[in-house]
Amino acid sequence: MRVLVVEDESDLLVSLVKALREEGYAVDMAADGEEGLFKARSWDYDAIVLDVMLPRLDGWELLRRLRQSKSTPVLMLTARDAARDRVRGLDTGADDYVVKPFDLHELFARLRALIRRAAGRPRNVIDVGQVALDIGPRRVTRAGQPVALTAREYALFEFLAVHRGSVVTRNALYEHLFDEDEDSLSNLLDVHVSNLRKKLGPEVIVTRRGQGYCIE
């Protein structure tokens, strides 16, 4: 999953990005509204964490302009907690609203729920045959036994599982699993898929030649 964090308070931005990366997200960052809007339009993020008080282009305006072309899930992050502000945020097209100061775990949980809902998954647990994925605790089991995955493997499996039933192109996988700073090699993806097949069973991930991967 790839998210964009738009936040002008650099200390907050740094710690948010770091925490999200440790959660397995590929994270891009933007320190002002214009940069944020540019990135949000350029990539199909799985979610955007958006501060309201931004220089150059505030969060409301960014959201309004973004909504003209994209429906990326947006979680507003703001210090304003008046009901009026929350209503305005949701009405402008935000999908959720977190008030500063926030608890990181709550932020992560809301982000997960946001991404899950955007993919049309009402539940946190996705079953693929004998394999079960629980998005909340980021846990994968095979026949009831927990399977140890690396962060990247987990991210790949989660993305395919969330978009279960549809073919995910290699390009899309690159876009959603690696952030702008990572110089990924194309064969890395095949390595991760191969490792996942070893751990979860060869039939879990199907390769569609010339198109991409799919969990059926």
Partner: protein, 517 residues
């Protein structure tokens, strides 16, 4: 509501009392005039008759014969050979050329006069009244005049048949002519040494007419009074209706809805003006409440971000084992956040102290240039870091100020100028004396302030460029504090700015009392 009712009732009762008094005064005067008019008319009728009778009777008795006119000598048979029989009176008087005869109905039978004027106590008395005088006493069935004539000895000499049985002779007082009431009978008399004449008639019909007039006045007056009271009630209801509106609106405002306003359709009336004044007050109150709420929201907003930094960094750091560098980085971020919060709380406290007027005391006469110098020296490292040149033109000038606060004014303005100046620019600080003022001006060569932002730069938490301001840990309170201090010193602060060329802040403080304080 009670007070409103009482005003209305008071208005109404005053109005009622005034109206009743005015109507009563008017009615009484009208009645009085009517009564006097009636009385004068009665007295005039009586006077005509009494003069005639007196002329006819008293003159005969006393005046020399040659002075008597033929008409006035009823007793002289040789001048008036025979007193005509009663029946003849009528024939004689009818053709009288000067007879207006308004009071005698023509259809009245002659016998009636004869019966009245010619019956006992004796035809003699009637016979002695000539026709001209006689006609006064005839034909007036409704207004039966009578006469009584007394001789010099006071004994009754003659009387008309219509006279009541006993008519006492009027007492001789100073007046020889006079009028009197006996019950409803009005009498007028002439008294002379040679005798007295009295003519009277029953005035009960006239009195009744006056009474009718009085009751008519009372009824119309009462009706007018009721009408006036009703009108007054209507007028006072209308006049006081805006007060009800005002109090209802004020009650709604008192219960917390500060957006309520009094409807003022008619702004020209006194109540409209009052409503306007109240609306202005409510608007100011609302604005002040809104500002206060905004200030609190801004302050909490400014505190929330550093708290969020501390929370995310600590949660992140504690989530798993970290390297020493990572811990150091997190601690440094927390420190920066804490320092920002400290700066903010100090600013808020300063503002609160200024707002509560706690800085009024402890003012001394001091040298503005010296204080500016001290404050600027502390800012030199900042200026060097920002590659800004400080140009000082400080001429000594005395002012009356709180030294610590004055230092803060200089620090705020100069650090602000350094912050917003371009790299390689300069900040020019001047102190000078103007008549009555010590002047401090701080001029930078930065981007200047956009005209749209200029009116707001002294507002609390207002920042034209939020990114730059926040990255330097500024909350947007510096200029607000500066202005609050200057205001507390009864000084002024102004800013002029040309976008692209820089801004100049000018502070004027009241000059110090003398030079050797």
């Amino acid at each position: 509501m009670n007070a409103f009712r009482s005003i209305r009732w008071r208005l109404q009762s005053w109005h009622g009392v005034m109206l009743a008094l005015a109507l009563a005064g008017f009615g009484y005067t009208a009645w009085q005039l009517e009564w006097e008019n009636q009385l004068r008319r009665i007295d005039q009728e009586l006077e005509e008759r009494v003069s005639a009778v007196a002329g006819a009777t008293l003159a005969v008795q006393d005046r020399p014969a040659e002075d008597r006119s033929p008409r006035e000598a009823p007793e002289q048979d040789e001048r008036r050979p025979a007193s005509p029989p009663p029946g003849q009176f009528r024939r004689e008087e009818r053709p009288a050329p000067d007879d207006p005869q308004p009071r005698r109905p023509p259809q009245e039978p002659p016998s009636q006069l004869q019966g009245r004027a010619g019956s006992p106590p004796g035809p003699r008395s009637d016979a002695r009244l000539p026709a001209r005088e006689m006609r006064f006493f005839e034909g007036l069935s409704g207004q039966a005049f009578y006469y009584v004539v007394w001789g010099p000895d006071g004994a009754e000499h003659t009387r008309s048949t219509s006279a009541p049985p006993s008519v006492p002779r009027p007492e001789r007082t100073a007046a020889l002519r006079g009028s009197r009431w006996r019950g409803t009978i009005r009498e007028r008399f002439h008294l002379a040494p040679e005798g007295g004449v009295l003519v009277g008639r029953d005035a009960d019909k006239d009195l009744a007419a006056v009474r009718r007039f009085a009751s008519l006045l009372a009824v119309t007056g009462g009706a007018a009074c009721l009408l006036g009271l009703g009108g007054g009630w209507w007028v006072s209801t209308r006049a006081l209706r805006p007060i009800a509106d005002i109090s209802a609106t004020a009650a709604r405002i008192a219960s917390g809805d500060l957006t309520q306003r009094i409807r003022t359709a008619d702004t020209s009336s006194e109540l409209g003006a009052l409503a306007g004044v109240l609306n202005d007050t409510f608007a100011r109150l609302h604005a002040s409440f809104t500002r206060q709420a905004q200030f609190t929201a801004d302050a909490s907003h400014e505190l929330r971000t550093p708290v969020a930094v501390v929370l995310t960094h600590t949660q992140n750091a504690l989530a798993r084992d970290r390297t020493a560098d990572e811990y150091r980085e997190s601690l440094a971020a927390c420190q920066r956040a804490a320092q920002r919060m400290r700066g903010l709380t100090e600013s808020l406290l300063t503002l609160a102290r200024i707002d509560s007027g706690g800085l009024a005391e402890a003012r001394v006469t001091c040298d503005l240039a010296q204080i500016a110098h001290g404050a600027i020296d502390l800012l030199r490292p900042l200026a060097e870091a920002e590659k800004v040149t400080l140009i000082l033109q400080l001429s000594p000038v005395r002012c009356q100020a709180h030294i610590g606060q004055l230092e803060q004014v200089v620090t705020n303005l100069v650090s602000n100028a350094i912050h917003y100046d371009r790299a390689g620019g300069s900040v020019r600080i001047r102190t000078a004396a103007e008549p009555g003022f010590a002047v401090l001006s701080v001029q930078d060569t930065g981007e200047g302030i956009a005209p749209g932002d200029l009116p707001h730069v002294f507002e609390r938490f207002y920042r034209a460029d939020k990114a730059r301001a926040r990255s330097a840990g500024r909350a947007g309170l510096g200029l607000a504090i500066t202005r609050a201090i200057v205001d507390a010193h009864r000084g002024t602060i102004q800013v002029v700015s040309a976008p692209g060329a820089g801004s100049t802040f000018t502070v004027r403080l009241p000059a110090g009392a003398d030079h050797h304080a």
